[in-house]
């Protein structure tokens, strides 16, 4: 099946980053249609009726999110989340580097709908080219009167600032991103209050992903019904699926939501020669993996939820029969450990403990009870952590252990002493200096 390219319609044209080319292909038509002619609420209503769900991972209904803003506030902000860092995800880079005006137009529409007069693009620090391209696109849009004071005579004014990150996965979490944008460490904030009530500088703020905002352009141009005509009832529209790993042609492919995985893999050229599919993460690394029996699963929010995993960022990481699942689990947990911001103990310590245990297993020093310990630490860290980072760190590891227990067992069997050893301590436990016994001390009973 051929791709349905709406968001990616123009990414193959290297001149699309020039504003004149973009305009000749229809860019900025939607703002002519909307600004000053539709009340902001009408734009929000169209987006709500389209059923557009956030493309950054959580899949929250975009129009509904906009609707959470308090009605009576003067200052509101829109922040575009371009801090793309989920392993396996590379769609936002493609969109902003190849078709930046699509994002700018989407942001103008969204800012108009939520009545923001100053909006931000939080661009990942390592996206050097993207930052330069976005800055130029904004300057060009200003020169043409699409940004600035009184846009196209509509009476509406907007400025956009591109803001660089500096290397922190957690800055992709919306409240951590707001802290970073305010010049602090990217650590998440307690919710509620949600950003829609108290976000950037404590003002009502909407944070939307790049791909989400890009979708707004065609929705305003063509209407909610048109958007809903693709995808499924609960997952409307098209989605950029990113395929990486052991496939012949890794890349971005746009299909309606609900397209079977097999079809997307086919677009990516199928598996490498002579190899077969073993497992895949369907939505970046922060979800449970699926195996080859799910080859025909419809790639949409509800089907993946039913399969106890998630669409996430629709980043399909494909692993063939040569993949060592213990190595995969270890590498991914190292990632979460590195990126844990350190604010809360379950995540900071939990990710480190699991890395230590997996390291032991990999080095043939593991024992059978170690597997139980990983499970317990993963579960308690996911249940008690402050933000979604640790919630996302558990499923990729637990699912690998569930689906491929024999691979973990094989490493453990290589430890000659594994049956005699007690479970090893995962960190130095607290030792009561008086009673030399930890955790239980009769001193506390008095």
């Amino acid at each position: 099946m051929d791709e349905t390219r709406i968001l990616l319609a123009n990414v193959d044209d290297p001149s699309q980053i020039n504003i004149d080319t973009a305009i000749s292909k229809g860019a900025y038509k939607a703002i002519e249609k909307a600004l000053g002619k539709m009340p902001p609420q009408e734009v929000t209503d169209i987006v709500t009726n389209s059923g557009l769900r956030g493309r950054g991972g959580a899949g929250f209904v975009t129009g509904k999110k906009w609707g959470f803003l308090p009605k009576d506030t003067e200052i509101r902000y829109l922040v575009c989340n371009c801090d793309e860092s989920e392993p396996g995800t590379f769609k936002d880079r493609l969109l902003v580097e190849k078709d930046p005006h699509l994002l700018i137009e989407g942001m103008i529409l969204a800012s108009y709908a939520i009545k923001s007069r100053l909006s931000f693009i939080y661009c990942r620090g390592e996206y050097f080219q993207a930052f330069t391209i976005l800055q130029k696109a904004i300057d060009d849009a200003k020169a043409k009167g699409f940004l600035g004071e009184n846009i196209l005579g509509s009476g509406y004014s907007l400025d956009i600032i591109v803001h660089p990150g500096a290397g922190a996965y957690i800055a992709g979490e919306e409240t951590a991103q707001l802290n970073s944008l305010e010049g602090y460490r990217a650590t998440p904030r307690l919710k509620p209050p949600f950003p829609a009530v108290a976000g950037l500088y404590s003002k009502p703020t909407i944070v939307n992903n790049v791909e989400t905002l890009c979708n707004v352009v065609s929705i305003v141009n063509n209407g909610a019904e048109w958007f809903r005509s693709r995808g499924t009832e609960k997952s409307a529209g098209t989605k950029i699926f990113q395929v990486s790993g052991h496939v012949q042609r890794p890349g971005c492919f746009e299909f309606p939501l609900g397209t079977p995985l097999s079809m997307i893999l086919e677009a990516a050229g199928g598996m490498l020669p002579g190899r077969s599919l073993k497992a895949f993460y369907p939505g970046g690394s922060s979800c449970s993996l699926l195996t080859k029996k799910h080859i025909d699963i419809p790639m949409d929010f509800e089907s993946l939820e039913q399969a106890k995993t998630a669409l996430g960022t629709a980043s399909i990481i494909v692993m063939d029969d040569s993949t060592d699942m213990v190595q995969v689990a270890h590498r991914l947990m190292q990632f979460y450990q590195n990126e844990s911001c350190g604010k809360c103990t379950p995540c900071r310590e939990g990710t480190r403990w699991v890395v230590q245990i997996l390291e032991r297993i990999k080095n043939q020093k593991g024992t059978v009870p170690d597997l139980k310990t990983i499970e317990q630490v993963c579960k308690s860290m996911a249940e008690t952590s402050f933000c979604p980072l640790a919630v996302g760190a558990a499923p990729p590891i637990l699912s690998a252990m569930r689906e491929f227990p024999e691979e973990f067992q094989k490493y453990i069997d290589q430890n000659p002493a594994h049956e005699r050893l007690p479970p090893m301590r995962i960190a130095y436990p607290y030792i009561d200096p008086v009673n030399s016994s930890f955790y239980v001390s009769d001193r506390y009973d008095r």
């Binding site: 590379f90 080219q129 990632f335």
Partner: protein, 169 residues
């Protein structure tokens, strides 16, 4: 250590934001681009420009991976080691690169030309295994490409920064 010109750029940048502290991270990028890294002296100068205690700036520099408070090489080679690149052989590539430069991962060559930084997913998995060499994405990389990549890198300015003086606003 910071030139008057850079200081003025930073002061201008502060005015762009509703609250000036928001300009802190871009300012650190600009300073690092100019000086090569962020020694305590520079952090203090920036703290003064923001009317913040130096410790506040140090806390930011320590938190974010892209800021360096110790000297680093002129050219940065970010080697992605996350899952998609791992599946396509980044581990042996990293090993070969470090061997070629005679450094450990994370180390800097004696001549101060290169620092190799093993990195988490850099968002170009379609080009795995990939590097970001200074400010450019390179990939997919084969072992035999390494020499050419290093040669090419030497031609650039180095000390990569997403935001440079005069570019912002």
């Amino acid at each position: 250590m910071l030139s008057e010109e850079i200081k003025n750029t930073i002061l201008d940048l502060q005015k762009r934001y509703p609250v000036k502290r928001s300009a802190l991270i871009p300012s650190l990028h600009i300073a690092q681009h100019e000086v090569g890294y962020l020694p305590e002296e520079v952090q203090k100068e920036i703290a003064d420009l923001f009317e913040l205690p130096t410790t506040e700036v140090m806390a930011i520099v320590a938190f974010y991976d892209m800021f360096h408070d110790k000297p680093v090489g002129k050219h940065h080679i970010h080697v992605c080691k996350n899952i998609s690149c791992m599946l396509r052989g980044c581990d042996s590539l990293l090993q070969k690169l470090c061997h070629k430069l005679d450094i450990e991962p994370g180390g800097t060559t004696n001549d101060g030309e290169f620092t190799v930084i093993p990195s988490e997913c850099l968002g170009a998995c379609d080009r795995a295994p990939m590097f970001i060499v200074d400010d450019e994405v390179v990939g997919p990389i084969k072992e035999e490409d390494l020499d050419a990549i290093l040669q090419q890198a030497k031609k650039g300015h180095g000390h990569p920064s997403p935001v440079k003086r005069g570019q912002h606003g």
